[in-house]
């Protein structure tokens, strides 16, 4: 496999990651969101493996495996269990309607390409063209957190942001040092557990996972 072929595969995977990020914005069902998140993790793992193969940085295989285990199986499984336990299958409401959110997302993608243009000129890595996608994924995750009301979607937005950051690291510098990646993976796992505990508490306190209910905690009116 030549470098140019690897770069093309990588670009394809980047496009799929971006597509899944938009799908996250468009999806109304919670279980649908969990599935899309799993797919995004799968593309990410694949992309990491391809970059690791093409660049000869073999520690990326370990990252890839970690990503596969964590983001494709473990985290979606935890979320899936949570959704079943809390019985929250119904549609979720967005603060801003979905077409507008998509349009905002497109603006953010264009903005990311504009931002990373100077970096593309300077870098000579084969993955340089995907940096814009990585930045766009981070911003789309943040946009998802801002525009959705449900606590679970907030967490999915957060995890999507982390996917974007991970992708940015691999595409900009062929991945972070192994220690950092292991640490981040562990943090994510623990975060997922803590989120789970918080969901239970929020649900029992407010009888709902709608974060707007938490406005009651404000100090003054």
């Amino acid at each position: 496999m030549t470098h140019s072929l690897a770069a093309q595969i990588n670009s394809l995977l980047a496009a799929l990651i971006l597509l899944s990020a938009f799908a996250l914005l468009a999806q109304r069902k919670i279980l649908g969101l969990v599935h899309i998140f799993a797919w995004q993790g799968f593309f990410l793992a694949l992309s990491t493996a391809v970059i690791g193969f093409a660049s000869g940085e073999h520690h990326l295989y370990i990252s890839s495996l970690l990503t596969l285990g964590m983001k494709v199986f473990l985290l979606p499984y935890i979320l899936y269990k949570l959704v079943h336990k809390l019985k929250i299958h119904r549609d979720i409401e967005a603060v801003v309607n979905i077409p507008t959110t998509m349009l905002l997302g497109i603006v953010l993608v264009v903005f990311s390409y504009h931002l990373t243009a100077p970096i593309r000129e300077l870098s000579n890595l084969m993955t340089r063209s995907t940096l814009a996608v990585a930045l766009a994924t981070v911003m789309l995750g943040l946009l998802m957190m801002v525009t959705r009301r449900h606590a679970v979607t907030q967490i999915l937005g957060f995890l999507a942001m982390e996917n974007g950051l991970f992708f940015a690291a691999t595409s900009a510098t062929y991945g972070m040092p192994m220690v950092v990646e292991l640490g981040v993976a562990l943090d994510l796992l623990i975060a997922a557990f803590i989120f789970g505990i918080f969901f239970f508490h929020i649900n029992t306190t407010f009888d709902s996972l709608d974060v707007d209910q938490m406005a009651k905690l404000k100090e003054t009116d």
Partner: protein, 679 residues
């Protein structure tokens, strides 16, 4: 032993006492006498060090191995510092002796250990402020003094009023401390020394500041010290904190802690900056005049004994500032002899005020200790129940009213001499305006006398007005009497031997403004004080004292020559049989004429309410009179600031929406904006 060693010994003894106080707790009986008599020894050591330094005019400096890395603490003992060591040590000695019995009154109710720790730290902090010779050490000592006194003001902390007063004190003290820190920063930055060396006082002495930076440094420092000294309009903490603190602490705070800020002002103006335009002195003089007149007017309106004394501290700080301001004006016009006169007047009044205000607060503490009452309207006739406290308190009253032969007269007289010599200034407008200040000072003295006629008359003369029986009131313990007696004796000695005192402290004006006073002041021996020339003015403390003593002795002899010449009978009731002690002249009534004339200066609210008779509603049963006098400065200066801070907080509080999306949006927008600017 050099004076600096002795002063160091005093500080170390106090710090050791603070550390050992918890260990002493096991020997309950000995804890109070041991701690306070050792504090008295330490204070006496400070006095010895100060007297030796001032008399010899010596300067000693030392560098400690302690301190911040790269900046060891510096110590220096020069005549100015020595003089303030004497002020602090002398009153510290009297109050420590007084405290032995006074603090026993708290036994069993509150932690005595806490009192001893903060008392000794407070004294040590004040001594270190005077001894410090670099900005860091000065501020460490300054904060030690402020924090220790905060805890002492809070000593009776179960009452919300006390906590509020202590907080106000801490707030204003820290606003001042920040200003002092900034002033040191300006001096250090402009001194041109490398690194931390600019923070030593030596570098500040040799710094050459441009006139703008010099003014910035001086007025920042002046503001900071004025906040501690209680100069109007920064005085609001004084009448709140002094009444609630234990009386021995009030005596120390009012008597000497305020004086450390006078020390700071003199140090900044005459030692660091040295060359300044006359308008600096003009501003100091104007603020001094305002503080003196307003302080005494507010004092007249009070009926809480300690609050009244607190307002008198504002007045006396004003009088000291008048002397300081005049001295700065004279120095700016290169008149060293007159500058020396005014500076000596200011410093002499500093010493005198420490003595008589300490005495008055100790006396107020004795009254409080005996009666458990702070409101003057509930007292009366205490001269019969407190035969020792009453005459000693009277000495304080006469001294603060600037009447001969006591010490208050001498220093105010010197200030007047400085005023009357102001036509020597080569500036036509100042020649006209400054003598007007003398008129205000005269008004202050007269009002202070009126105020203390009220205090002594209402508290000690007449009949008991209180609700509980006066038979329960007993004279206070011996150590309290001894402490007050020594302070009263000092007041008298400082009043009748001014020539010696001025001769002793002559090295201070000589080093600070290049002029001397003792040569002309003591020309006619120790009997006569002639500040400039005997043709202009002279005063003999001893002669006046002997004259007054003779008149009093003759009167006493005439009254007591026959056994029947004094007889005790019931008060004549003018034929009206229902006279009660509550119908006596009250403190509010005494000050009413002045309240009517100068009422526009205060926020006065008077209410008279007629309560109907219970059986016959048509007839009046009783009259209720309510009088509330508030400080206008509170509404003018402090309330708007508080409201503005609250308003800003409310506006900022609107950021708190309680919705996670909004918070996320804040970070999202911030991220985008930063990326746009950086991209």
């Amino acid at each position: 032993m050099t004076p600096l060693d002795i002063a160091g010994f005093a500080v170390l003894l106090l710090l050791a006492l603070a550390a050992a106080a918890p260990l002493l707790r096991s020997v309950r009986m000995l804890q109070i006498p041991l701690a306070f008599s050792l504090s008295a020894v330490a204070s006496l050591a400070a006095v010895v060090a100060g007297v030796m330094t001032v008399a010899a005019g010596s300067v000693a400096a030392a560098t400690m191995t302690l301190g911040i890395p790269g900046l060891p603490f510096h110590l220096r003992l020069d005549p100015l510092a020595g003089f303030f060591l004497v002020v602090i040590g002398l009153l510290g000695f009297f109050v420590s002796v007084y405290s032995i019995d006074y603090v026993k009154g708290y036994g069993g109710e509150r932690s005595i250990t806490q009192m001893i720790i903060f008392y000794t730290l407070f004294l040590a902090g004040m001594l270190l402020v005077v001894l410090a010779d670099d900005a860091y050490f000065f501020l460490v000592a300054w904060e030690l003094m402020a924090a220790a006194s905060y805890f002492l003001v809070m000593y009776e902390d179960e009452r919300a009023e006390n906590r509020r007063a202590a907080f106000l004190y801490l707030l204003i003290a820290h606003a001042g401390a920040i200003a002092i820190l900034l002033a040191f920063g300006v001096m250090a930055a402009q001194s041109g020394a490398a690194g931390f060396d600019g923070y030593t006082f030596d570098a500040m002495r040799t710094a050459h500041l441009s006139s703008g930076w010099a003014a910035a440094a001086f007025f920042l420092a002046f503001f900071g010290f004025a906040a501690k000294a209680g100069v109007i309009p920064l005085h609001v903490w004084l009448p709140e904190a002094h009444p609630v603190a234990p009386s021995n602490i009030s005596a120390l705070m009012s008597g000497v802690m305020l004086k450390t800020s006078i020390y700071g002002m003199v140090r900044f103006a005459f030692d660091f900056i040295k060359v300044f335009p006359w308008w600096w002195g003009g501003i100091v003089l104007a603020l001094g005049l305002v503080s003196a007149v307003m302080g005494v007017l507010y004092a007249l309106m009070q009926h809480d004994l300690k609050r009244l004394l607190a307002y008198h501290s504002v007045e006396n700080i004003g009088i000291i500032l008048i002397g300081l301001g005049l001295s700065m004006i004279f120095a700016a016009f290169h008149l060293p002899a007159l500058a020396a006169l005014a500076l000596v007047a200011a410093l002499y009044h500093t010493l005198n005020h420490a003595m008589f205000k300490g005495l008055l607060f100790m006396g107020a503490g004795a009254v409080l200790h005996a009666t458990h009452e702070r409101n003057m309207e509930e007292m009366g006739g205490l001269i019969h129940r407190l035969p020792w406290t009453a005459p000693l308190f009277l000495v304080g009253c006469v001294s603060i009213s600037a009447l001969p032969p006591f010490n208050g007269f001498v220093s105010e007289w010197l200030t007047f001499q400085a005023f009357l010599l102001s036509p020597a200034l080569p500036h036509p407008i100042l020649k006209l305006l400054i003598p007007l200040g003398a008129a205000l000072l005269a008004l202050t003295g007269a009002l202070a006398a009126a105020c203390f006629v009220k205090v002594f008359g209402v508290v000690f003369l007449g009949k008991w007005r209180g609700r509980h029986k006066p038979e329960r009131i007993h004279e206070v313990g011996w150590s309290m009497r001894i402490g007050m007696f020594m302070a009263a004796l000092t007041c008298l000695l400082l009043g009748i031997l001014p020539t010696w005192v001025i001769g002793w402290m002559d090295t201070i004006p000589e080093q600070l403004c290049g002029g001397r006073l003792a040569e002309s002041a003591g020309k006619f021996g120790w009997m006569w004080l002639t500040p400039i020339a005997h043709e202009r003015a002279s005063y003999s403390g001893p002669v006046v004292f002997i004259g007054i003593l003779a008149v009093v002795a003759v009167t006493w002899l005439l009254l007591h020559v026959r056994a029947t010449s004094v007889s005790r009978v019931p008060v004549w009731d003018c034929g009206f049989v229902k006279l009660t002690p509550r119908m006596q002249y009250t403190a509010s009534a005494f000050s009413m004429p002045i309240r009517r004339v100068l009422g526009f200066l205060f926020a006065v609210r008077e209410q008279v309410e007629i309560v109907p008779h219970t059986n016959h509603p048509a007839l009046p049963g009783s009259l209720q009179y309510r009088l509330r006098i508030r400080d206008r400065f509170w509404n003018w200066l402090y309330a708007p600031q508080g409201e503005a801070a609250y308003w800003i907080a409310r506006q900022v509080g609107k950021l708190q929406q309680g919705r996670i999306q909004i918070y996320l949006l804040y970070s999202f927008v911030t991220l985008i904006v930063l990326l746009v600017f950086l991209g």
